[in-house]
Structures are given as C-alpha cells and as structure tokens.
C-alpha cells in the first residue's frame, strides 16, 4: 500500500513481443480472472442450489390396487397420502389407462363427497343433486349450471397394477391445518400457503 512503485502510470495492456515479462503478465490476468470466477462462480452455484429448493414433489405415483380386484363398472374410494379422497372407477372393459378414471370425490359446488352409481354410470352428489358423467363433467344440478367438473388425476396401468398420480401434500390439507392450528407446521416440514384459508385446487 505504499506509493513508491512508479509503474502505476503505465497502462496494463499494449504488451510488447512475447517475452517472459508478458507471459507473467498474461499469467497474472488469467490468475485474477480465475480467482474471481472461482469465488463468485461458487457463490452462484450455491445460490442455484438454494433456489432449486429441496422440498418434496407434491404429487407422486401411488399404487392403488391390482386391476383384477376392480371389476368393470365398479369404483373404489382411495385416500391419497395427504388425505384427499379420490374415486377410482373402472369404466370400460380393457386393461389400458383410459379404461380407468381417478376423480376427486369432492364436489366442486360446496365440497360434499360424491359417489359413483354403477347402475346409472354417473357420479351423484347427495347434497344438492349434482350429477356428473363418468368423465367427471357435471351434467345436472348446480355444478352443471356453473360448468364445473370433478378434478381428474392421471392414472396408469403397469403390469396389471393401477397407479394414480396423487397428491402427497397439498394446499388443501395445509389450509385445513391452518384453520385449526395457528402455526401451520406439519410434521416439521414447511409448506407454502397463500392468503386466507380457502378451498385450494387439489
């Protein structure tokens, strides 16, 4: 930090012929750039890891049943790991994915639980006579008037076993938890939550 060095007025570039001096100069510039990149680059990588978020994915493929345990026209109630209730129905003959439907059993109207009526091939909500076709589309009652439908979950059949991409944790669950517990902490995991307690999309 002393000012006795007189070379400070020289501009750093304008290097002469390739000499040991300019090689040293090049080395210094590379070392400087390397040092900066090493330091700030690592910081950037750490920031990336921070942002990547190590939370759990909120949906996972969950095993439901073996398909021979579910007769054509039948439906079963399946409780997802987060407590959401799904209706899993086998709607037509065959063993492909589109023979099965997984629908939220929560009526989009006011949240009652709908059930599958095999004889009528429809879902029925007993609260306000809401009726949904086998694809989950509302065809009668208040939900039809509002053009609503039951939330659908992807299903897949793999070697005779039926899987559903079901929510493992959800805002719905969180909202329920928040309503009764001010801390909103669930099993030590922090989960995102927005605004007032209200029904969230599953």
């Amino acid at each position: 930090m002393d000012d006795s060095d007189s070379s400070h007025t020289q501009r750093p570039h304008g290097a002469g012929p390739t000499t040991g001096r300019s090689a040293r100069r090049l080395f210094l510039r590379v070392a400087m750039a390397g040092g900066l990149v090493a330091g700030y680059g690592t910081l950037g990588v750490m920031a990336g890891r921070f942002l990547y978020s190590n939370g759990q994915p909120s949906r996972r493929w969950q095993f439901v049943t073996t398909i021979d345990a579910l007769a054509v026209g039948d439906a079963i109630l399946y409780e997802a790991p987060n407590g959401a209730k799904l209706i899993i129905a086998r709607q037509k003959e065959g063993e492909t994915d589109d023979c099965f439907a997984a629908l939220s059993s929560i009526c989009p109207h006011l949240g009652c639980l709908v059930h599958w009526e095999p004889q009528n091939e429809r879902f029925f909500c007993p609260c306000h006579n809401g009726i949904f076709d086998k694809g989950g589309k509302a065809i009668s009652g208040p939900p039809a008037a509002a053009g609503q439908q039951l939330t659908r979950f992807p299903v897949k059949v793999d070697r005779g076993r039926l899987f559903v991409l079901a929510p493992v944790e959800s805002l719905l669950e969180l909202n329920v938890a928040c309503r009764s517990h001010t801390t909103c902490r669930l099993a030590g995991h922090f989960r995102a939550r927005a605004g007032e307690p209200r029904r969230a999309e599953v």
Binding site: D5, P12, G35, G39, M46, P81, G188, H189
Partner: protein
C-alpha cells in the same frame, strides 16, 4: 501499489473467497449432520429461567442436565414457560418471584402443542384415569388392599405405624399407569380434586371458595396428596380439568421425542401377564429387527417419517402414532386410530367408534350407521398404509386374514361361551353378586383378562409363542380343565341343595355349548370319563 500487484492480490483473494465458501459448505454438511441427529449443540438458558437454572443446577442438577439436552432448551423454552401458573390456579404458589405450579398438565403443554393435545384428548389414553369401579380397581382396592384404613395388628420395629393405608396398591399399581385424580390436601384434612374446583374451559376453578380451604406448607406451597402425586399416569385427572400427562411418554425434563419413539417407553405399562405388548413386540420379527438396527433408525431426527427418515424396523410408535410417507407425514397422538380390533374386553370388538371415540356395541345396523363416525375398516386402512412401506398388499391382507381368523376363533370358541356360562350362573343365582369371592370368577378372569388377551395381542403383533403357548393353550386348558368342571360342580351343588330349576338352566347352557362341533372331541372324552367317576368327585 502496482497494477500487477493488485492483480495478484485479486487472484489470491478470489481463491481465498473460494476457500471461505468451502468452509461454508463444510458448515452446511455439519448442519445436515446435526439435523440428522449426529451431533448436539450447547444451549443457553432463556432470560426468564436463568435464575431457576442457576439455583437448580446446584440443588437438583439432574433436572437441569436433562433439560439442557432437550429441544426445549435449544428453542429457548425454559422452566417458567411450562411451570407458569396464575394466582387463581388451585395449585399455584410463589417461588422466588415467579408464580408456578408443580404439575404441568396437557393444558399447559397445549399452549404450544395444541394439535398434539387435542389428538391426545380424543384418545383412549386420555381416558385411562376412569378406572374407578372397574374390575381391576376392585381387585386393587378391595381384594389386594382395603378401601378404608385399618389398624396394624403387630408392631413394625423401627417405625410407628398407626394406620394401614389400604389404597397403597391402587396408588402404586393402578394409578401409576392409569393416572391419579390429582388431589390437594384441604385444611380440614379431606382432599380437594377437580370435582370440588369445577374448572371452566380455561382451567380456572369456578368454585373460588374452595381455594381458601387448601392447606399450604410453611413456604405457602399447596400440599399435593401423596395418593395422587408423584404420578405420571397417562390418564391423570388434573386440577385444571384436563386429562392425562404428556410426560407419561415424553418424560421430563428432556421431553425427548427420541425416547417416545422407542418401545421401552411404552413398556412401562404395556407389559405383564394381562397385556404383554412389549414382550410380544420383542419376540416378533419387528422387535428383533429393531434391536439389531436401532442405531440406523435416525431416532434423533427432527422429523421421523417412516419411508423417509428411516425404514429399518417399526417400533410401537411407528405403527400406532408416527408419521409416514403414505399418510401425509402426520403424527397422531391418538394411538387408537389405526387399531381395528379392541382386544381389551372378554370378547374382542371391532373398532367402529362414535364421535367420542367409544366403540359402538349395538348390533342394530341402523343404529350403527347413525352412531359410527370412524369405522374399523378406516382404522385398518390407516394401519395398512404403515405396513405397505415394507410389505406388499396381498401379504398385508393375508396377515389380517390370519389375525381376524384367530380373534374370531377365540371369540366364538371360548370367549362368548365363557361369557354365557358366567351370566347363566349369575342369572340362576348360583353366584354371589360379589366379584372374586368364588373360584370360578378368578378362573374366568384368568381366561379372558390374562390368557385371552395374551393370545389375541400375540396374534395382533406376530408373536407365535404368545399367541399359542402363553395364549390359546392356556385359554383352552383354563376353559376345559377349570371353567367347565367348576361350573358343573356349582350345578351339582345346586342340585344337591334342591335348586333343580336353577341347576337345570345352567346345565342346559353348558350342554348346548359342549354339543357344538368344535367341542365334540372334549364332549366324547368327558362322557367316557363320567362313566368312570361320578361328576361330583371329578375334581
């Protein structure tokens, strides 16, 4: 300073920065190790409790030492936070400037752990204190001791004994698991309990005049009656009206979740001749795996989610209470919500429970539909979600088939018939109304309360020896070799005394039971034996 020196300096500092970031990464790894429970941090007492800690470190270092190892200490929850009381509380007293109470109740814990307390309140555990007038209590109060104090009959050298406390067995034997009704001593010598204080929803007594009757020691501290304290029974009936004791499982003063996760913790009560769950577990594959692998089970983890934090073996908590990946990582403090049979009564019942959590006993289907809010199937499905972390669905279903078959066989072959015989005897007036004053009453109690439960619990948790040798084998022996002969003898005696009608009624019940196909083998041998010796002399 020249530009080149600066460049060199920047290069050195840049790599120095990298080095410091490596230290940061090392710290991150350490943090994860602490999170995984490999290391523990040192704590500082919160300001509110610094004085308590300083004094108690000398007078009772064990308490402070335990607390320092707790998560409470890490998070700044000190002594006053839990022991805090208001001057209006029955058991409140001044202690070096702080108003505190000795007993910390679930209501106190619920100030922070509200959800846990609510779940616990709903559980059968919380109702453990309501054992007055039950069979077990009668045994301890009357058969083992005496309800009223009685005089000693000879001196105890070295000690003056004026009176014998007949409730000693209840206090030590029953209440330490089931929980006492916490009692303060009144000035006039009797006891003050929650019944006298009639606390409101906030736990404050509504009958204020009782507070003046509380007897206090020289320092002004209310005197807790030794019949009710010390006590950490799970269903303790507290002065603020709350039920239970959190420290029954989360022992003070470290309140360790680690300990509550281990089966030894439950083994304080769930063991012995009548419900040896702890021994059954130890015999099972589950217990064996746990004993071997417990070091890898992340018992110190902040969370303890089966399938995420560990999956080496299940403990009691794993199946009945803890979080798992298939139930939304929810811990429950109601261990009943995953149990599908209750094997506590003489005849096992399916756990279709009503809004209060009580088993619905009626057989009328309409009534059942109206009352049942949580079915045994739902409970079993919850348990299956635990099983499925390690077992396949067909395996689990087949296990439950084995278990159901076992329970139903016990119910139908021994429990219901035994119950029928006992009630027939009672109806016919061949037994006194008093319990445990006749041999057959002990026999029947042994059959269902000890051996029958051992068998069923053994089957429920995969312990073959308990299911068979300690269980069904002894049930069968008790039934054929004691219960039936003793009942028959009562019938003979009644006949001899000329009470033909009563004797006939009971004989019919016994006959109808023994003529069933499952008892045929015994019936034949029985009849042959009867030819050799007259029934009255059989025993």
């Amino acid at each position: 300073m020249s530009l080149r020196t600066k460049q060199l300096l920047i290069a050195i500092l840049g790599f120095g920065f990298l080095a410091s970031l490596i230290v940061v990464q090392w710290a991150e790894v350490t943090r994860r190790r602490i999170e995984a429970g490999v290391a523990v941090r040192k704590v500082k007492a919160p300001a509110s409790s610094r004085a308590c800690v300083e004094c108690h470190r000398q007078v009772s270092p064990g308490v402070v030492d335990h607390w320092e190892g707790s998560t409470h200490a890490l998070k700044g929850v000190g002594c006053v936070e839990c022991h805090h009381a208001d001057t209006g509380d029955a058991d409140a007293f001044e202690h070096y400037g702080a108003t505190i109470a000795t007993i910390v109740t679930p209501k106190d814990c619920s100030r922070c752990h509200r959800r846990e307390a609510e779940e616990f309140m709903h559980s059968h555990h919380a109702k453990g204190g309501n054992i007055l007038a039950s069979l077990d209590n009668f045994l301890a109060e009357t058969v083992e001791g005496a309800r009223a104090p009685f005089d000693p009959h000879s001196p105890t050298p070295g000690m003056t004994v004026d009176s014998v406390n007949g409730m000693a067995s209840v206090n030590v034997g029953c209440k330490q698991c089931h929980g006492s009704k916490v009692a303060l001593r009144a000035k006039e010598g009797n006891l003050i309990t929650v019944d006298d204080l009639k606390p409101g929803p906030d736990g404050k007594p509504t009958v204020r005049e009782v507070l003046d009757r509380i007897e206090r020691d020289a320092s002004g501290r209310p005197i807790l009656d030794p019949s009710s304290w010390p006590n950490t029974g799970i269903g303790r009936i507290n002065l603020d009206g709350s039920l239970g004791s959190c420290s029954a499982c989360h022992s003070r003063h470290d309140f360790s979740p680690r300990r509550a996760r281990q089966p030894e913790n439950c083994g304080k009560c769930h063991l012995g001749p009548d419900h040896p769950q702890k021994e059954i577990y130890e015999e099972s594959k589950h217990g064996v795996a746990y004993r071997d692998l417990r070091e890898q089970m992340n018992l110190d983890g902040e969370t303890w989610v089966l399938g995420e934090d560990y999956s080496q073996a299940p403990t009691c908590a794993t199946c009945h209470m803890s979080a798992n990946t298939r139930n939304g990582r929810q811990v429950t403090h109601d261990p009943g919500i995953r149990i599908s049979w209750t094997n506590r009564p003489p005849v096992s019942l399916l756990m279709d429970t009503d809004a209060d959590g009580n088993v619905v006993k009626t057989s009328d289907p309409e009534e059942r539909r109206r009352l049942v809010v949580d079915t045994w199937r739902q409970k079993r499905d919850r348990m299956k979600q635990v099983c499925l972390h390690c077992h396949t669905e067909p395996y689990v279903n087949a296990f439950y088939q084995q278990y159901d078959d076992f329970v139903i066989n016990y119910n139908e072959k021994f429990a219901k018939p035994g119950q029928q015989i006992m009630s027939a005897l009672r109806q016919a007036g061949l037994l006194t109304p008093e319990e445990f004053d006749e041999e057959i009453e002990w026999t029947w109690f042994y059959l269902w309360h000890h051996e029958g439960r051992r068998a069923r619990h053994g089957a429920s948790m995969m312990a073959p020896d308990y299911a068979h040798w300690h269980g069904m084998y002894e049930v069968a022996e008790r039934f054929y070799m004691e219960l039936i002969p003793q009942a028959e003898e009562l019938v003979h005696r009644a006949e001899a005394a000329g009470r033909t009608e009563a004797a006939q009624a009971v004989r019919q019940v016994i006959e109808s039971i023994l003529s069933r196909p499952e008892h045929q083998w015994f019936r034949k041998a029985h009849d042959r034996q009867a030819v050799v010796a007259p029934p009255a002399m059989q025993r």
